[in-house]
């Protein structure tokens, strides 16, 4: 696996941007200024980045309620995302979607989704469109361990296999469906076991290791682009925060997250590897850190200052024409 220095820095920036976006939201949410539900992706960055580093304008992804990471990785504008989460008119969705519905179809981001298991059927459709229009594009459904139990996911795996669609079904198994352990709620213990039932390859990768995800994603995407059909990839991963902001997480071990941050943090592992291999200087990555922090800081400042939508916005954007 070869990655140029520019690629490595791009991946690092992507993951770092997601991390700082989420860490900042965690702080800001606690002030009470952010309305509604917010589900943070911190800890899972290597998954979004490992897949989205391979994607371009032809490709489409569908995300989950925990969608900020995928959105950033697929190129959604950070300022607009932040403004959206603050419910502002300048938001990516004009303040009509919020955290759970961040989407930018022009960027191939079919939306975070408030419905667990809502994405896979849509991704079958995006894959079908790519196949019929011969764009060479692929479509990726990111699903959690909760969503992967939904009937929609089961149906979509079957349909994608029957139609041999250029789709990837990525189960980001962070161990908890809301507050319920995947060890209890998932009958097969390991999601890759389900792949063979749908006649597609299924593999597991360590979601803390960007390089493991990146390589597996690359192969699955290559296979899909070349007409090889869908794949199932389980990314074993951890989230640093609760199901939603405000979740006391009494279902988790006392030092669980602390230990994860110390031993399995994807950014830490990434830095150690590229520095150890003398591929990227620490100074280059430190510079990225500084720039990302400034970007997030600026996005929060602007989001707070931005105006809210007005009464005139309530009734627009329901239909193209009515």
């Amino acid at each position: 696996m070869q990655l140029s220095k520019a690629d490595l820095l791009k991946a690092y920036r992507m993951m770092k941007t997601i991390r700082e976006f989420e860490e900042r939201l965690h702080v800001e949410f606690a002030t009470g200024e952010i309305p509604g539900f917010v589900h943070l992706y911190a800890g899972e960055e290597a998954s979004a980045a490992g897949f989205c580093m391979h994607l371009d304008g032809r490709d489409r992804i569908a995300s989950t309620h925990r969608g900020h990471g995928h959105s950033i990785a697929k190129g959604c504008d950070v300022h607009a995302m932040m403004a959206e989460i603050y419910g502002k008119k300048a938001g990516l969705c004009g303040g009509k979607g919020g955290s759970m519905h961040i989407a930018d179809l022009d960027k191939g981001m079919l939306g975070a989704n408030g419905i667990v298991g809502g994405g896979p059927p849509l991704i079958c459709g995006a894959g079908l469109a790519a196949k019929m229009l011969k764009t060479g594009g692929v479509a990726i459904a990111f699903v959690g361990d909760g969503g992967f139990n939904q009937g929609t996911t089961a149906e979509s795996l079957n349909l994608a296999s029957v139609w041999r669609l250029p789709c990837l079904f990525v189960v980001e198994n962070n161990g908890y469906a809301e507050s319920t352990s995947s060890k209890w709620a998932v009958s097969c213990d390991d999601f890759t076991d389900r792949a063979s039932a749908y006649n597609m390859p299924g593999i597991s990768v360590d979601g803390h290791d960007f390089f493991a995800v990146y390589e597996a994603a690359g192969e699955a995407i290559k296979r899909a682009r070349s007409g090889g059909g869908p794949s199932l990839i389980e990314v074993k991963i951890n989230r640093y925060y609760g199901h939603f902001e405000g979740d006391a997480q009494t279902y988790r071990g006392p030092d669980e997250v602390k230990k994860l941050r110390e031993t399995k943090d994807c950014l830490m592992l990434f830095r150690k590897r590229v520095e150890g291999a003398t591929l990227v200087d620490a100074a280059d990555m430190n510079k990225v850190d500084t720039e990302v922090l400034a970007l997030i800081d600026d996005s929060v400042k602007k989001a707070k200052a931005a105006p809210k939508p007005t009464a005139a916005d309530l009734l627009t954007d329901v239909y193209v024409s009515y």
């Binding site: 213990d189 390991d190 299924g202 493991a212 390589e215 590897r273 150890g276």
Partner: protein, 353 residues
């Protein structure tokens, strides 16, 4: 007859059989449920030959959970299972689990360890098993070191060895091993093959591409093997028991002195250019040609190295002990261990010797 406790360890790698080779090749998928079934079949056999206690490596991926459920269920009619204990580690679902668990099993005096996994799992167990013999069962078709055997039989032989009914001298043999040191410090080992490649990252570990492979070291090379060692096996087959290994410098096809078409992964048969073939004698320290890259141990990329690192490979004869399943059962048969006379119990079923 003095009675002591017969213990057997079981290490099952829950992650084995789900790596990237399912995506890039047609490698077999091995469901966790089947691993659980293999363990329960082995437990039946272990109970049948009088093993008192079985130590199992716990995991976080659901295998433990399944075994616990199986233990709570009523036993099949007429069966007696050994006591089952999960060794005291906190599973992190990494390689360290296996190393830690095997060390604890060795400390607790297990007489044999049943290993469910592939070459990679056995490699880890070998690092910590010391003198304890392994009964290696392949979970999948992508392996060279373990063989595809029925778990019931594996349970029987592990029990016979652990309880001393068949002696180690009769049942076991010692494997060769390839050792890797970085900057003078022993780093890791390989049971079958060790290969260097100019890739920069370990990535998803498994190695399945022939292009770029630089050097291949094998402790043995079977002509009917799957994987990288097949390249050597098709040039010059070398048995597990031979007192030497082999070292091949590989190269692009156009520069090759010979081109070998080898099955380097399930469903992947490719041409590999071989520049030179050298006998690897025990003790010789061979430096790698590459300055930067990764080393794959038994087909899995494990070690990244930079130009500042000095990387050496050597062959040693003090590898792990393995139980020869076929020979052990022949010996048991010759001793009449499974013959029932009159109303008495078979001797294989008695307590530890």
């Amino acid at each position: 007859m003095a009675r002591s406790v017969a213990r057997v360890g079981i290490v099952a790698n829950p992650a084995a059989g789900r790596d990237i080779r399912r995506l890039v090749a047609q490698a077999s998928v091995f469901p966790i449920a089947e691993k659980r079934n293999m363990i329960t079949r082995a437990l039946s056999a272990l109970g049948a030959v009088g093993v008192n206690e079985v130590l199992i490596m716990p995991d976080g991926a659901g295998l433990t959970h399944r075994i616990v459920r199986a233990l709570r269920a009523p036993l099949p009619e007429g069966q007696v299972w050994p006591e089952v204990r999960f060794v005291d580690i906190e599973p992190g679902d990494t390689a360290a689990d296996t190393l830690d668990a095997v060390r604890l099993m060795v400390d607790d005096g297990v007489g044999a360890i049943i290993v469910l996994g592939g070459d990679g799992t056995n490699r880890l167990v070998a690092r910590a098993a010391g003198e304890v013999p392994l009964v290696s069962l392949s979970t999948g078709t992508n392996n060279v070191f373990p063989s595809v055997r029925e778990a019931t039989i594996a349970g029987l032989v592990a029990g016979l060895v652990a309880s001393g009914k068949v002696t180690r001298a009769e049942a076991c043999f010692r494997n060769k091993v390839l050792r890797l040191s970085v900057n003078g410090v022993p780093r890791d080992l390989a049971l079958v093959d060790l290969c260097s490649s100019p890739e920069l990252f370990i990535g998803s570990r498994a190695l399945w591409r022939a292009d770029g492979l630089d050097q291949l070291f094998v402790s043995f090379a079977e002509a009917d093997a799957i994987g990288l060692s097949s390249i050597a096996g098709l040039v010059r087959p070398i048995s597990r028991r031979a007192p030497f290994g082999l070292w091949l410098d590989l190269c692009p096809l156009e520069r090759a002195s010979r081109v070998i078409r080898a099955p380097i992964a399930p469903g992947i048969i490719v041409d590999v250019g071989v520049e030179t073939v050298t006998t690897l004698t025990p003790g010789a320290q061979v430096p790698l040609r590459l300055k930067r890259g990764v080393v794959a141990l038994d087909g899995e990329r494990e070690v990244e190295f930079a130009p500042t690192d000095q990387v050496l490979v050597s062959l040693a004869e003090d590898g792990p002990f393995s139980v020869d399943i076929e020979r052990t059962m022949i010996v048991a048969a010759q001793h009449g261990l499974f013959v029932r006379t009159g109303g008495s119990e078979i001797s294989a079923a008695s307590g530890a010797a």
